[in-house]
């Protein structure tokens, strides 16, 4: 990525760095809203006690199907246009694993890892949830329009839908917990920017990429 010309004139500890642009934030929160809607209506369709509590099964089902079909839309719109450059760059970062990611995976060597913009946990979470969108829309469609498919596929689709749903609950639950434990990171998904200090200490490789400044200033001054 090109270094912004003004970057060298900045004092690295001061100005916040843009972590997520407005397109990424809108895509994130639109997708999050749909995910939560689907998880809650899904629970109402699936879990007996919740079913009887909520009732109106036909309405819940209609909401679940509509939200499910809408689920990939924000991401697709965010990715296809000229406005999606930042989102496409981040997708590439989530795809690519550098040797430091492997260091991070082992507790013993975690401290030595110089991470890029995302840590491996975030990469796996995003990859799994991205795949879950495709899997859930596909299997949900088979369940909803079962007439068009072989009979055994309906069972198979239900089977996959159930287990991926369990995974989605765990992944989203974990994601929310980690976000609440890191208010800086959560704030940047709301406002876009994050403190230079956070970037320098937590994601040094990304910090250097963005600012052109070395992340470990203390070490070099010694």
């Amino acid at each position: 990525m090109a270094v912004a010309p003004a970057a060298t004139t900045l004092r690295p500890s001061d100005p916040p760095i843009l972590r997520f642009d407005v397109v990424e934030r809108v895509v994130h929160w639109a997708t999050a809203t749909l995910f939560v809607t689907l998880m809650l209506t899904g629970a109402a369709l699936y879990a007996g006690p919740v079913s009887t509590l909520v009732g109106h099964r036909d309405v819940v089902r209609a909401i679940h199907v509509a939200a499910g079909l809408a689920l990939p839309v924000p991401l697709i719109i965010g990715l296809i246009g000229r406005w999606g450059a930042a989102l496409r760059h981040d997708l590439r970062r989530i795809n690519r694993w550098i040797p430091d990611d492997r260091l991070w995976m082992r507790r013993r060597t975690r401290g030595a890892a110089r991470l890029g913009k995302f840590n491996p946990g975030q990469k796996l979470n995003a990859t799994f949830l991205g795949a879950s969108i495709v899997l859930m829309v596909a299997t949900g469609s088979i369940m909803n329009w079962f007439d068009a498919f072989p009979l055994s596929w309906r069972t198979g689709a239900t089977f996959v839908h159930d287990w991926v749903a369990l995974g989605v609950w765990l992944a989203v639950g974990g994601h929310v917990l980690f976000a609440l434990r890191d208010p800086d990171a959560l704030g940047s998904m709301l406002r876009g920017a994050i403190s230079a200090r956070w970037a320098r200490t937590r994601r040094p490789r990304w910090y250097e990429d963005r600012t052109g400044m070395p992340a470990e200033r203390l070490k070099t001054s010694r």
Binding site: R57, D101, G156
Partner: protein, 236 residues
């Protein structure tokens, strides 16, 4: 310098791997689910923590062919028995519960693979209802109609007179909910779940067996568990 936009495309591999697993799951899930129901289902049923109940094994799934779950109160409920009978019946819910009560505890096996073990049903034996109406000599089959407006089923008169065929109005000691086909439904213990028509409204005695909703779409008319629909489930 290595930037974080270079490196091994692990993400893509994991993503495609998950999609591949999903596709395999759709094609083989029916078999895997059957295996899980037999291996894990009974354990989940006895799990004292109740957490096992969250797993997608050993539980009822709710199907409706109309996309809508019909809702009718016990007060509004009517059940007709007519067709080739001496005395057509038009019963209220109270009439139904006034009849001799029968209980059956058996597994519920769906043709799509899932199974719920040891389900306790209570209601009236279909045999008793038929005797009340008195089938005519040329009646040889029974047709069932649901008040969902679409679903029908049928049995031979011989099958309908079995001990383990109920018009059920209680499930696990509780009033049968709308999800489960309440106020009253059919429960045909030895056959796949699609025979156990939900939201029962009418029982019609006929000369011949008329294929039901799913049977017109390829399911076997004689739906014995383990001996039909190309499946080999253990009998219920």
């Amino acid at each position: 310098m290595v930037t974080d936009q270079q490196g091994t495309p692990v993400g893509r591999r994991v993503f495609l791997g998950l999609l591949g697993l999903g596709a395999v799951g759709v094609v083989t899930g029916a078999a895997v689910q059957g295996w899980l129901e037999r291996a894990v289902g009974p354990i989940v049923g006895r799990d004292p923590t109740g957490l096992g109940a969250l797993l997608p094994v050993g539980r009822f799934r709710f199907y409706t062919v109309t996309g809508d779950f019909p809702d009718r109160s016990r007060a509004d409920y009517r059940l007709r028995v007519d067709g080739l009978v001496e005395r057509p019946l038009d019963l209220s819910f109270a009439d139904l519960t006034a009849m001799r009560r029968a209980e059956v505890t058996r597994d519920f096996q769906c043709v799509t693979g899932w199974r719920v073990t040891d389900v306790r049903w209570a209601g009236v034996r279909l045999r008793d209802l038929l005797a009340e109406a008195g089938p005519l000599a040329d009646a040889d089959a029974v047709r069932f109609v649901s008040f969902d407006g679409a679903y029908t089923e049928s049995l031979t008169l011989h099958q309908a007179r079995r001990d383990d065929v109920l018009v059920a109005y209680e499930l696990e000691g509780e009033a049968l909910s709308s999800d489960h086909g309440g106020p009253a439904r059919l429960y045909v213990a030895p056959m796949y779940g699609y025979k156990s028509l939900k939201w029962l409204e009418r029982i019609e005695l006929t000369r011949d067996v008329e294929p039901g909703f799913w049977e017109q779409r390829g399911y076997d008319v004689d739906a014995w568990v383990g001996r039909s629909n190309g499946r080999s489930d253990e009998a219920t």
